[in-house]
Symmetry: C2
């Protein structure tokens, strides 16, 4: 398999042109860039003094309070002891500077390879990668409402992400396929990502052997030697906040790192529950927890790719429920972006979060707030960019295509404002003059095809046109759209020998153990 | 009437506390700040070189091409001639530096007084003021659909803005009251703002005498001498882009400035129609058009308050319709914010724009994109912050309360992240330790009431709770909410003598002319 450089967007913002319109839906992905190269600055919320205070608080948490490594991953604790940490049973305390020193081997940027080299993504620096939501036990659509996710749903979301020109990555557990045994579903999930998409994907993290299976399937796909020096799969690992790393997670981190594959390290802090109710404290805690997880990957294998992840949320005082897409985590993302850059690590940030149970006004108010923060803070890998409803518990077919459409808009947003002779258009003003219109002028004719983002889901027609066409809510249009995409999408080609080897592996592994449902 | 300093939010972000919950809806406004004092930095999109190129292009447009003053406002042209501009019939060309020199008398910041001094708003600097949408001929609600706006609708929207703790200003033409004669409706509109609200308001701009009537009613309200040295009313003036100022507008600008009252100067550029299809050129044009309008106010009366306004939009290549809430105008707002600061003028930016015909997912995707840009770019006065649907043509009751709720969230967003000993919460970590929760810890108990934004319209309950409560879309909840607010809101008190004088003025002016309907 080729190790070509990934094809980011290095020329112009991908904007819908008339030419695009004639292409069938399933080909839409073909013309899109493999990822976005941001051309707008990050939004710098805090100054040096405030950032240094947050970092100092994280250092003090690590030094004075420490982190528990629970569940029996003795090797993880041993690695920290060898590195110079103070170990007191499960509790590990980190002398000031130790974690940053361990992290010095982590790459600031790396390539996450896809089986189609044209879809490999760059992670870090100015690159921005959008991936679907991850981990919902339920799925929803307007026809059937909410029900447990199945392997059919899983394949559908992989196909929807493959068909979208605005999602660069296939994600991981796009929904929980609850109709497959817990100890075997990772095999079907990884196979589905490989077979129904040619974009890069995440593997399992729920047990060390499942992480190893995920890596092994990727080895079969890419060839044995490729993974030794290239990242072709990543795992997404959650801290058990506050200040606890569970053995399942640390064993998984070490399994991916051991194979030189990527780890994404993500605290999961609902303020007031797993962290302080105040933003600055929750951010300091997240910083401490993340750095320790990223550093563990370096203790296992220096130089293994690792991503600084972030997941902050807030809480409703009225309902006692977690809230998402609110201002506090949006601000938190902006600060976390600054901290990740200062730590020299690629950043994963929160995506299209909402507590709404329908793809309605609330859902997009919250999701857009969260997504704006994610792209403005400089996140490189944005998991959960499409699909969530119901406080992360449900993956919605309609929300998925609404979010994917908004990811398209963000391609244009991240392209920024180009200021040059062409865009300043002084000749157009000379040609048109006061009081006339620009419709037919030379500048318009030369530039209109790439001028504006044109959503395929938004309705910009007049009230009368819209009424005559049925007066549909955007969630109804989204319902039609995902059905059309699924009806038209075709699997990308795959080498039959590789496909057979993957199927053999899955069959063999499934046959080696009884079903477990917990 | 007192000339007290307005009461901006100078302490803490207004967050829903339990205490707030017990207050009746109509009192909600009482506790809210008169305006927001931003505590987050502006989002600086472009660097010095790019900004200087845009400014240079604006200068060249003004110098080489010039602006037409059409419709017979000879005095406006004469003022420019006296100032040193080159006048060729209607065309005025501006030697480089002239406009900026004229603008040197414009205040960078001023107070826009409300009849209730506690509601006076600061315009400029770090102050942010939210005002309702302006100018729709139609109104919409879920019960009756779309129809022409009436004076009853107008009063309803004034009351809804008065009742909202998150809208700081009463706006102007909150909808067109099409059941009142065109030449008389300004009298009813200004009276409605004064009678049903105690927040600051905008007056008429559709004819010089209507501008003068609006100012005169404000003089009756505040007392004759007050307006000589204080701003108590403003007018919102549109450029007839590209590069044309109509006499109706320039006469209105001069009428407000003559009375030392505020002018908001706003180009209305749909890229590809009234300006170039490329963002940089449209911004340069807007900059030129705005500066000339602001400067005209200074020629009429040096020192009169004037606001740098902005309205950029894009176009759908598929439908040929204007689009709103898209990435290009959001980026444009960020640049315009930089230009306004460099010009030393307060800024008005675009608000909650959308082309959607329902308060659905599309509507908030677009409105939130636009509003984020408005607050991030440093806008001081955000007109159209609540109510629009249908590409500015309709004022929606449901969208109004959804937008107002999002304005509440933006109060918290603009308060930023406070980093101090309390918020860093190191003691809380010491108390709670790894693996425990923060629910009952001392830090949580001391801080939870002001910790998080808690929307009154968003549903954060579980899927089961939400289903049991009826499974409502957020637009249905919004429908119930505006009806409850209107049922509960009470007019603020007013001095009966002032009220009678205002009614007399309206009756006299209405009696002085026959109805005109165009």
């Amino acid at each position: 398999m080729s190790v070509a450089e990934p094809m980011g967007d290095t020329t112009a913002a991908p904007t819908r042109s008339r030419r695009r319109e004639r292409r069938p839906e399933r080909r839409a992905g073909a013309a899109a860039p493999a990822y976005i190269t941001r051309r707008i600055p990050t939004y710098e919320l805090l100054g040096e003094e405030a950032l240094a205070r947050i970092e100092d608080t994280a250092d003090r948490i690590l030094e004075e309070i420490g982190i528990d490594f629970r569940g029996g991953d003795d090797r993880a604790i041993e690695l920290w002891r060898e590195a110079g940490a103070e170990v007191d049973d499960e509790r590990v305390r980190f002398p000031r500077g130790l974690v940053r020193q361990v992290l010095s081997t982590a790459p600031a940027e790396f390539v996450h390879h896809a089986r189609n080299p044209a879809r490999s993504v760059r992670i870090g620096g100015d690159a921005v990668v959008f991936a679907p939501a991850y981990g919902s036990p339920f799925v929803m659509d307007l026809d059937q409402g909410r029900r447990y996710g199945t392997m059919d749903d899983f394949r559908n979301f992989v196909k929807l992400a493959y068909a979208s020109p605005w999602l660069h990555h296939s994600g991981g557990t796009v929904c929980e396929p609850t109709d497959v045994a817990v100890n075997k579903r990772h095999l079907d999930m990884v196979y589905a990502h490989i077979r129904h998409s040619d974009k890069a994907y995440l593997g399992s993290v729920t047990a060390e052997e499942r992480a190893e299976d995920s890596v092994e399937m990727t080895r079969i796909l890419f060839g044995a030697g490729f993974l030794e020096s290239n990242c072709a799969i990543m795992g997404n690992f959650n801290v058990n906040s506050p200040l606890v790393w569970d053995a399942t997670m640390t064993q998984g981190i070490r399994a991916y790192a051991r194979a030189n594959q990527g780890t994404i390290i993500v605290p999961f802090i609902l303020g007031g529950a797993m962290g302080p109710v105040t933003n600055a404290g929750a951010i300091a805690q997240a910083h401490a927890e993340t750095l320790v997880g990223c550093a563990l990957s370096q203790l296992e294998r220096p130089g293994a790719p690792t991503i600084y992840g972030n997941f902050l949320s807030s809480m409703s005082l009225r309902s006692g429920s977690p809230t998402f897409g609110t201002p506090e985590p949006a601000l938190g993302s902006l600060v976390v972006g600054q901290l990740a850059r200062r730590a020299g690590l690629p950043l994963r940030c929160s995506g299209a979060f909402t507590t709404s149970k329908l793809p309605d006004a609330q859902s997009m108010m919250e999701s857009v707030t969260s997504m704006h923060a994610a792209v403005q803070c400089g996140a490189n890998y944005i998991l959960h960019a499409a699909g969530f409803l119901d406080g992360l518990l449900s993956m919605s077919y309609e929300k998925f295509v609404l979010d994917a459409d908004f990811c398209g808009a963000l391609h244009t947003y991240l392209a920024g404002v180009t200021v040059d002779d062409t865009t300043l258009a002084l000749d157009a003003f000379r040609e048109v003059g006061p009081g006339n219109h620009f419709f037919g002028c030379a500048h318009t004719m030369a530039n209109y095809e790439t001028a504006f983002w044109d959503s395929e889901l938004s309705d910009n027609t007049t009230f009368e046109q819209w009424s005559e066409a049925g007066g549909e809510d955007s969630m109804v249009r989204a319902n039609k759209r995902w059905k059309r995409i699924l009806a038209e999408v075709e699997d990308p080609p795959i080498d039959p020998a590789v496909d057979e080897a993957l199927r053999d592996f899955v069959t063999r592994r499934k046959g080696s153990m009884p079903d477990a449902w917990y």
